[in-house]
């Protein structure tokens, strides 16, 4: 539960993410499962961090809490000043829409929609002006190298292309925080590297804070500037990678 300072280059004033004894407990009959147990940590703006741990360690649950998909049982999480514990479901939806972007191991593109439609979906929920939507979608797809595939269905694409499209969708409303749940888990190493390179580029060029869940320490060591370790719902230690 120690708090690590951000790596050297720039001093951090406002943290992007601040978890304060964040907890998520489940009731399984008589027993209480402490999926996330009083986790406290801070992510600086523009940081690229990896969240490591064995399966069942609670890293995905923590990511869902950060994504506003799951509700805290206790504690609080602050993302860019917004307090998740105080939000109602409407405010959380707004938070997911505008403040965070999320990508998944299984991409989670809507299979019946074209890539363009998939990328447009968060813009629809955000009531992004219709006149500018087409350009925005094109710009997002071009940014991940898929401009020519806009009218393709996900099933017509490789896994790497699908994950890049998912990244484009996650960035649609220009979130400050990108959460990635095992983004390369379903990809071969070449596609995996492409996706990681894209994430790294987003982090370094656009200043998007990235938190990536992975069980692959090598991947974490290679791309993340910091690694957080979880086991049994608790944050073990935060260490600076590289």
């Amino acid at each position: 539960m120690s708090e690590a300072s951000a790596p050297g280059k720039q001093p951090v004033i406002i943290p992007a993410v601040e978890a304060l004894a964040a907890s998520r407990y489940y009731q399984m009959g008589e027993a209480t499962v402490r999926a996330v147990d009083e986790v406290t940590f801070t992510l600086a703006r523009g940081e690229f961090a990896a969240l490591l741990g064995p399966s069942g360690s609670g890293k995905s649950t923590l990511l869902n809490l950060l994504a506003g998909l799951d509700r805290l049982t206790a504690g609080n999480i602050r993302v860019q000043g917004a307090e998740l514990a105080k939000m109602d479901s409407e405010a959380l939806a707004r938070y997911r829409r505008l403040t965070v972007g999320m990508i998944f191991q299984s991409f989670n593109l809507v299979p019946t929609m074209t890539l363009a439609d998939n990328v447009e979906l968060p813009l629809r929920f955000a009531e992004f002006p219709r006149a500018e939507r087409r350009d925005r979608v094109h710009e997002l797809l071009a940014g991940v190298g898929l401009a020519g595939r806009a009218q393709h269905k996900p099933s017509q694409l490789s896994g790497g292309e699908q994950q890049r499209a998912a990244i484009a969708r996650a960035l649609a409303n220009r979130p400050g925080l990108l959460l990635a749940d095992e983004p390369t888990g379903n990809l071969d190493s070449r596609n995996g590297q492409e996706v990681m390179a894209l994430l790294e580029q987003l982090n370094s060029q656009m200043g998007v804070t990235v938190l990536m869940v992975t069980h692959d320490p090598a991947l974490a060591a290679r791309y993340a500037r910091r690694a957080l370790h979880m086991a049994d719902g608790r944050m073990l230690a935060a260490e600076v990678a590289q």
């Binding site: 997911r96 019946t112 979906l121 968060p122």
Partner: protein, 438 residues
């Protein structure tokens, strides 16, 4: 999410499950069609019945009597404590003028009835003579009259009832244009002390033959064999039954009428005039009273037809619930994705409502067209049958624009109500669970 986005997404979702949504929509269409067909049958029948009754012209007429007149005692008078005969004013010329001044009244004609003897071709027939008001000229029951109506309100012309005319000539049509002599009791002088009665006679030209009784033969009204213009009859000073009544009363009074026939410009004013006359403490009676029960019957009939028509729509609404619940299960993951990228619970709910409403809209429009076609088919069949019976064709089913619009709105409403449960279920989905679901 904007409405346009909502319906774009709904349309996309419906295209993705084309067969299922089409079948459900057809289900709604069949439900709406049965409702429209039933309702249009009710409306058509009511219009048909009203039309038949209106033809008689009775609805434009209110009959006014005085409660003083013992012959006009209302059977229900005892049940109505406010109906005191002594408070009812006399039905004299003053009352006639007062009623004539009511808005919408075209003419107030006193009833004139007397026994008379008709002489034609040296044969005499004893019969009933009555005045026919000038305003009756437009009456539809006179439509089938042979010959013509009186040429003026004071003409010395007569219209004969056909059966009576047959007594005068085996071929009654020949009578038109011929002269008859009427012998009648003439009241000479007036005043409280008495009057004289003497026999007089007057020559009339026959102008028309009548099959039906005017006013559909209502009560005793105008049930006579020979009709002359009311004004002519008044000028003849016929001895009236009310005259003896006036004579025997201790207090001298103006000459009164046994009944006034009040004719309205249109049937819509009848109720107001009837009420106004009742407020003057007269007895008033119109066919509106008689049709009240008929109108109630049609209201009940419409309700039953509506309920039976709605049954199919109720079944269709279950199909909507089923279709949407299936869609929620099938699109669980998609709902999870939408929530993960920023859809709120209400966005998800609204998408399902939009899908339900879209099915309702298409089903409603299809149903109205289908219902109209069913109506046409029934009309066609009924008219073929009427044609075989050598009867004029009738529009039995009628789909007015308001019914079409109401049916579509109702279909949308029912669909949205059917969407409440599936939409709430979709909105309640936990995104974490839904995303885990493969």
């Amino acid at each position: 999410m904007t409405r346009q986005d909502l319906f774009e997404l709904a349309a996309r979702n419906m295209r993705n499950a084309r067969l299922r949504n089409a079948l459900t929509t057809i289900g709604i269409a069949v439900g709406v069609a049965s409702l429209v067909a039933m309702m249009s049958l009710g409306i058509g029948l009511q219009r048909f019945a009203n039309h038949q009754l209106m033809k008689s012209g009775m609805f434009q007429t209110v009959f006014v009597t005085s409660r003083q007149d013992p012959r006009n005692m209302d059977d229900n008078a005892d049940a109505k404590p406010d109906a005191k005969p002594e408070e009812s004013p006399a039905l004299d010329d003053a009352a006639r003028a007062k009623i004539a001044a009511l808005p919408g009244v075209e003419e107030v004609a006193p009833e004139v009835r007397a026994t008379a003897e008709v002489e034609y071709a040296e044969h005499t027939n004893f019969t009933m003579l009555a005045g026919l008001p000038w305003s009756a000229r437009d009456e539809d029951s006179l439509e089938k009259m042979k010959g013509s109506f009186f040429s003026s309100a004071t003409a010395e012309e007569a219209i004969l009832q056909r059966d009576f005319a047959k007594k005068l000539d085996a071929n009654p049509e020949n009578l038109i244009g011929k002269k008859i002599v009427l012998r009648y009791a003439h009241r000479q002088g007036g005043g409280a002390e008495g009057f004289q009665i003497e026999r007089r006679q007057k020559s009339f030209t026959i102008v028309g033959l009548l099959d039906e009784q005017p006013y559909g033969g209502m009560r005793m009204i105008s049930r006579a064999r020979v009709f002359v213009p009311t004004q002519t009859a008044l000028a003849m000073d016929l001895m009236q039954p009310a005259d003896t009544q006036q004579l025997v009363r201790a207090e001298p009074a103006e000459r009164t009428y046994s009944m006034l026939t009040v004719r309205m410009v249109s049937a819509t004013q009848a109720e107001a005039v009837e009420d106004a006359v009742k407020k003057m403490h007269f007895s008033a009676y119109s066919y509106l009273d008689a049709t009240r029960s008929m109108r109630r019957f049609f209201a009940v009939l419409d309700m039953f037809l509506g309920i039976f028509g709605s049954l199919a729509l109720a079944v269709a609404s279950l199909a909507i619930v089923n279709t949407l619940v299936m869609a929620v299960l099938e699109r669980r993951r998609e709902i999870g994705i939408m929530k993960a990228i920023g859809a709120s619970d209400s966005d998800v709910k609204r998408i399902f409502f939009a899908e339900a409403a879209t099915m309702g809209l298409f089903g409603g429009v299809m149903g109205v067209i289908l219902g109209w076609l069913i109506g046409r088919a029934i009309n066609l069949g009924a008219n073929l049958y009427l044609h075989r019976l050598k009867m004029p064709p009738e529009g039995l089913l009628l789909v007015p624009l308001w019914l079409a619009a109401a049916a579509v709105l109702f279909a949308i409403m029912v669909s949205v109500v059917a969407g409440i449960y599936p939409a709430a279920r979709a909105a309640r989905l936990d995104p974490v669970e839904a995303l885990r679901y493969e």
